[in-house]
């Protein structure tokens, strides 16, 4: 018996631990193949935004009287927290939606992974790790461009990375729970893009303070992860006045999404993979 165990190629303990990291390793390994487009997208997107928003709208706003509405910062500094948070959200979305559909529906890769010592829960965690990694990568690229344009001071880098990743985590978690429930595509991604992501981007106080909106439209912002992250980012990066309790609400809102999303993700992954 002892001899038999010694002969075994697989070490049980090694195989069972760190399954999530192995799922992530696999995805990163595959990602190298389209690293070029990941980088091009990561750099191209912020450059386009900065040129159009910064040089266009920014010039217009800054030429007027920004102090009143924006609290005395440049327009780019005002929109930077929102742009970064939405970049993080976009980054994580790409990694929770498509790979999950591929895993369960298209190529059914999750079933192959689950045939190894990796558990359903570890697969979900692995997807999440990759999503956060991709989100972080996108944010870092964005920050680099912002710094290069002189749009934000160095001191605001860490607070902005923190708030945008918080938004990314909350959103990734919720979207993973939803995508795990899809039995087929049926235009779901188009619907999410048009009716969730686009309105969220437009109604979350991204380009102007949410308070300028009529009160009946403001609730769209209140339930949007983007708004919470943006407000927090503005407070932390350039000292936009924010009451402490409201800051706590912003953090809690995003953290609750992050925790609840995974709570609903695990059982669905387990159920689907054990059918």
């Amino acid at each position: 018996m002892a001899e038999e165990i010694a002969k075994r190629a697989v070490d049980d303990q090694k195989a069972i631990r760190f399954g999530a990291l192995r799922v992530a390793e696999y995805r990163f390994f595959s990602m190298i193949k389209w690293m070029g487009s990941v980088i091009a997208y990561g750099l191209g997107n912020p450059i386009l935004y900065l040129v159009s928003v910064g040089l266009g709208i920014g010039a217009l706003v800054d030429a007027g009287n920004p102090d009143a509405a924006l609290g005395g910062v440049s327009y780019l500094q005002f929109v930077a927290p929102a742009l970064l948070a939405s970049a993080a959200i976009q980054g994580v979305m790409d990694e929770v939606t498509f790979p999950t559909m591929d895993g369960f529906v298209w190529d059914k890769l999750f079933f192959a992974i689950n045939a190894t010592s990796v558990s359903a829960r570890q697969i979900a965690d692995g997807v999440m790790i990759v999503a956060l990694g991709r989100g972080l990568f996108t944010v870092v690229m964005y920050v680099a461009v912002l710094l290069a344009f002189g749009a934000i001071p160095w001191a605001s880098v860490l607070p902005l990375v923190f708030t945008s990743m918080l938004a990314g985590w909350g959103m990734a978690s919720v979207m993973l729970a939803i995508t795990a429930r899809l039995e087929n595509d049926e235009g779901y991604f188009a619907i999410i893009g048009r009716f969730v992501i686009a309105p969220m981007f437009l109604f979350s106080g991204t380009f102007y303070p949410l308070e300028l909106m009529p009160i009946y439209l403001q609730p769209i912002g209140w339930i949007s992860p983007l708004w919470h992250a943006t407000q927090l980012g503005r407070a932390l990066s350039y000292g936009m006045p924010l009451e402490l309790w409201l800051g706590v609400v912003h953090v809690l809102f995003l953290a609750v999404l992050g925790v609840l999303g995974m709570r609903f993700t695990y059982p669905k992954f387990e159920e689907r993979l054990s059918r």
Binding site: V10, A15, F29, S117
Partner: protein
Amino acid sequence: MVRTKASNREVVISAKNLRKQYKDFVAVDGIDFEVYRGEAFGLLGPNGAGKSTTMKMISSVSQRSSGDLAILGKEPNTQGPEIRAHLGVVPQKDMLDRELTAWENLFTYGRYFGLSRAWLKNKIEELLDFAQLQEKRKEKVEGLSGGMQRRLAIARGLINEPEIVLLDEPTTGLDPQARHILWDRLFRLKEEGVTLVITTHYMDEAEQLCDRLVVMDKGKIMAEGSPAELIKKYSSKEVVELRFGTDKNEEAAKALKGFGDRLEVLPDRILIYSKNGEELLAKVIDKGLHPITSLVRRSSLEDVFLRLTGRSLVE
């Protein structure tokens, strides 16, 4: 590990009253079987017999509804990952990563088991040789033929040097030549002493590869034994197949009553079971019956299945 007293062979899979129910549908309805180390064990039955469901329970991903199941002496409901660390699973749909090359598919899969990169590099060479895919190592999965993809899926299933290899319908969808290549590879595994569990609805595959098998139908086990034992028990040595034309088979069957040990009338042909087929065919012709075509062959598992269920395996 568990050893049965009678054979003193090590039991690697043991199922007792195993049952799986999906809502109102009972896919596996209380089956018992044991698989011994080093044997090739088959689950033979038509589509929908419950073979794949049984396979999913053995692969420790799908939980049983009731009954007992032990794999390598462990409980799959609670020790799934520990068990799966020593299983090799070759699913019916290959589930290979199309974006990756043959080599990369093996490498990334091996990493799931926590195997080191250096160890894997050697192992992959060995497996590419075994699967006859050395020349295709840098080819993406999309560029491989169906038979090559299946061989790659088998190689992937062997990456962790599993104690039991589970093959779900290994040659379904392959052309005859690819099937023979695959059988040859599986036979080699068998010779190396790897425990194989194979589901199939092809009787020739079961006869070629399985030391022992269970015949399944509608979620139940109808019979168990080696192919030869089953044929001996449920069929005669030889079979005479007669075709009189679709409308005339029934009528001819009446005239053939009493011929051979047993008679089966199928929509397209009549089967007569007998120890000596040629002798029986001569008697039929002596009686003045003239079938359009006639064939004398040895009994197969197909005949066993027909006897047990009254239906053909492939319908």
